[in-house]
């Protein structure tokens, strides 16, 4: 019974995930696209929870669906609701080419996964109760992955400085 419930929730979340992703790339209004992306991130968080990644799911909701998307919505509101047709301009073969390339990459990834997995992904390892808890992730960040942790902080600092520099008024703007 528990297994059936997990399957139902998983399939529901996966379908929501894929349909909102399609909505993101097909809405003409960027505001609706950003709202659809929030739904996408929330249903991904459900999938993370079902894979026992509780901390990643919480961080997904807080960082992505919260902070990053608020930034997106703020910029979209600042720019005004300029609708842009999904595939306005450009010759017809270009649109067709985009679909072909997207489908080709998808099929390539699936084929690579199927040949690499080759039935070896059927049964997964047993996990302990503390798997994916904040304590365990924090311990890994401060021991095995300390360098990645420090580099991440530098990347975030550089991005913040870059955002400020891009937002500064420059003299070139006066004659632009």
């Amino acid at each position: 019974m528990g297994n059936f419930l997990v399957w139902v929730i998983w399939i529901g979340a996966a379908l929501a995930c894929i349909s909102t992703a399609v909505a993101v790339i097909s809405f003409t209004n960027p505001f609706y696209s950003a709202l659809a992306l929030i739904g996408n991130l929330a249903s991904l968080a459900v999938l993370f929870l079902l894979a026992s990644a509780e901390f990643v799911a919480a961080a997904q909701i807080l960082v992505y669906a919260g902070a990053v998307m608020v930034m997106f919505l703020f910029v979209i509101a600042y720019l005004g609701g300029r609708a842009d047709a999904p595939w306005a301009g450009g010759p017809r073969w270009l649109q067709l080419g985009a679909f072909v390339v997207g489908a080709a990459i998808m099929i390539e990834v699936i084929v690579a996964l199927v040949t690499a997995a080759d039935g070896g992904l059927a049964d997964s390892a047993e996990i302990s109760r503390s798997f994916g808890s904040p304590a365990e992730i924090g311990r890994l960040f401060l021991t095995d992955h300390l360098l990645a942790f420090e580099i991440t902080s530098i990347v975030l600092l550089v991005a913040a400085v870059g955002g400020v520099v891009l937002g500064m008024k420059s003299s070139a703007e006066d004659d632009a």
Binding site: A51, A59, Y64, V68, F72, M106, I137, A159, G162
Partner: protein
């Protein structure tokens, strides 16, 4: 493991990645291109979390959180660029943004 096996996670991740790629190639507004990039990054996150569950190793989740931090940095710089384009009254169209071309 309750529910679907790792293969299902990877299948959803591959479909999401394909949708994101199509969005990046198809759309002209840099805003939607950034949103599609987020979909691609999240697809890779889903694969990382799925593999982390499969091998019962938390390292995958640590990578997923690092990817999230990098995505936040990317959005910060990308949105800063878009706002700078708008203030210089440049068209928000990835086909006409050719100022940097030599």
């Amino acid at each position: 493991m309750l529910g679907p096996s790792t293969t299902w996670y990877l299948a959803v991740a591959a479909v999401l990645f394909g949708i994101g790629t199509t969005g990046v190639i198809l759309r002209r507004s840099p805003l939607i291109v950034l949103l599609s990039l987020e979909i691609m990054l999240n697809a890779s996150n889903l694969a990382l979390v799925g593999f982390s569950r499969h091998f019962a190793s938390v390292d995958g989740q640590v990578f997923a959180i690092s990817v999230m931090a990098v995505a936040a940095a990317e959005v910060c710089v990308g949105l800063g660029l878009i706002v700078a384009f708008t203030r210089r009254k440049m068209a928000l169209d990835v086909d006409t943004l050719t100022e940097l071309r030599g």
